[in-house]
Symmetry: C2
Subunit: 208 residues, 2 copies
């Protein structure tokens, strides 16, 4: 009997998964959550063997909650179930400790296959995912982000519409410090021109 917890903010999809698993022998859904925070509570209370989680969710996103779950319950298997097929998302979920990665564009039946695979100790990746980038170097999980921690924080604020002076207040630094970080990011990212940094911030799917 495999116990499963699911986090998905679209209730309709949650219901669909429920319908799929409801009559399957050997699998029991022990909890469901519409956000990352609720998922953590479910995992703490119900101790599922497998967690199926979206990435883009309210409160705590799938990557962060996966890290928290793996830290507290290392034996719990986590599967990402998401619309994001980007290398960065995949890399981050794996780095966070996920054993599986499924795309919502794929048949719902894959959820079942993934749950069975990871519960046996295997990994499971959606066949639509090109995993070649994972072979580029052997320490992918320790690969450093292009942007530094401070840069990423500032980029997040930029994406939220904060001006440099607002960001400076939030971080207790001078405005010029924020502007210098901006310039560094623009240079690192190869951008140029007004608004390009904001555009980049908004184009990014996730903050890393």
């Amino acid at each position: 009997m495999i116990t499963v917890a699911i986090a998905e903010d679209h209730q309709s999809l949650m219901d669909g998964i429920n319908l799929l698993l409801k009559y399957k022998e050997g699998i029991t859904i022990v909890g469901m959550a519409n956000d990352g925070e609720a998922l953590l509570e479910v995992v703490r209370n119900k101790r599922p063997e497998v967690v199926l989680t979206d990435i883009k969710m309210p409160k705590i996103d799938g990557i962060a909650v996966t890290k928290l779950i793996k830290k507290e319950f290392p034996e719990t298997k986590v599967i990402a179930f998401t619309m994001f097929n980007q290398q960065e998302a995949i890399t981050q979920m794996i780095a966070a400790g996920a054993s599986g990665y499924l795309l919502k564009n794929s048949p719902l039946e894959e959820v079942l296959n993934a749950i069975n695979a990871v519960s046996e100790g295997n990994t499971f990746f959606d066949s639509a995912i090109d995993l070649s980038f994972l072979n580029d170097d052997s320490d992918t999980s320790s690969k450093k982000p292009v942007l530094s921690k401070s840069e990423r924080e500032i980029l997040r604020y930029i994406g939220q519409g904060k001006s440099s002076s607002e960001i400076a207040s939030l971080r207790f630094t001078a405005v010029s410090t924020v502007e210098k970080h901006r310039k560094n990011m623009i240079h690192k990212l190869g951008l140029s021109g007004k608004g390009e940094l904001l555009r980049y911030a908004l184009d990014r799917k996730y903050d890393f």
Copy 2:
């Protein structure tokens, strides 16, 4: 027997809907599509009574395909099934001829309720939707877009990262004309501050 066609680019959700309706008396799914173009083909070939369609889909979006369907098959009922709870999306789907509007955040069971309602000639709106704006004036279906044609064109260019002078060149006008349009849009949209127009352009779910 109600015949239904479904358009949804996330196959997993499509499968969930299928599971829901599969054993329901009185409803038959006669076709499924992953994009607007395929939906149109399905509707032409299968002539369903009810169409359930996402808005954000590849090729032809839900709004455009609804217009096409209603033009060619006025008796066919269309239900939007989407994550967008914005007034503009709702308004546009209604203007396109949709009889129903469902949110993916709601229970999957609502799909069934909506199908039954519209097949009886009623409208069906997700209870999570605030419809008060629909009462503002009685000619909602002919309601003009907030932004003028030129404004929308300029907004599109802004979203593509063009500067005002670049846009002016593209449109054979003075830069000041473009800037005036920008100010008009900012005022109409109730925005303020640097980058907000770009942000709005990028945040927009659809070009109207």
